[in-house]
Amino acid sequence: MSIKLKAEQLESIHSHGEREYPNECCGMLLGRADGAAKEVSEAVPLNNLRLDSARAQELLPLEDPGRESEKNRFLIDPVEQLRVEREARKRGLDVLGYYHSHPDHPARPSKYDRDHAWPWYSYIILSVERGKAAEVTSWVLSEDRSQFDPEPLKL
């Protein structure tokens, strides 16, 4: 199990996280997989739909709107997701997973991340500390959904 990224893709994830700070950023990882070994061809920045709270609430309501917002939650618009995925499939690329940022929070998956995760996908998390990109980690949901397993991130 591993995920390979190019330096420029990591840099684009860093820039996206810094640009969107103090809000969470999110994006799609496209590429090819050979079993559990993934190689990213593109990191595609997407919009955090939590910034459009009415539409986001229609799709996946927040549990505690008084304490949750785009600063600590992200949601990808399935319309945008489907469009990018369809276009990627025409180029022979698959969706390998997604990235998102944790503003002023460690690059460790939360319970909320785990509750919403899908198997097999790589979940790359970027910590953005006071506006600056810091640690990047990658995770895959365990088979029984009980935890995220750390995934080696190779450059």
Binding site: L60, R73, F74, P78, P103, S110, Y112, H116
Partner: protein, 99 residues
């Protein structure tokens, strides 16, 4: 009539690695039932214990979300393509005490 169901990458391990499956169905509900009867491991990822589609699963017929059509009663035409689109959400915790 036969319709194509596009399978997202995390669920292809349950469909013999196929990225799309053809099923005979007149409605979205029939199509998903046909899919899960053929590939029973898909069921727990698509449906909750009450047999309802999980809120983390978006289903599109061509470019339209079935939530805004007739949900699982949405009728299908022969060239329709059903896409299963995993809801992608997450975020950091709201307080540092939480796990």
């Amino acid at each position: 009539m036969p319709v194509k169901v596009v399978i997202p990458t995390p669920l292809r391990q349950y469909t013999g690695k196929s990225d799309s499956v053809e099923v005979e169905a007149k409605t979205v509900g029939e199509a998903l039932a046909g899919l899960t009867s053929r590939f029973s491991d898909l069921r727990k990822h698509l449906y909750n214990e009450e047999g309802k589609l999980r809120s983390f699963v978006n289903v599109y017929v061509n470019d339209e979300d079935i939530r805004f059509l007739q949900k699982d009663q949405t009728p299908l035409a022969e060239t329709d393509v059903i896409s299963i689109v995993p809801s992608i959400a997450g975020g950091s915790t709201t307080c540092c005490i939480c796990s």
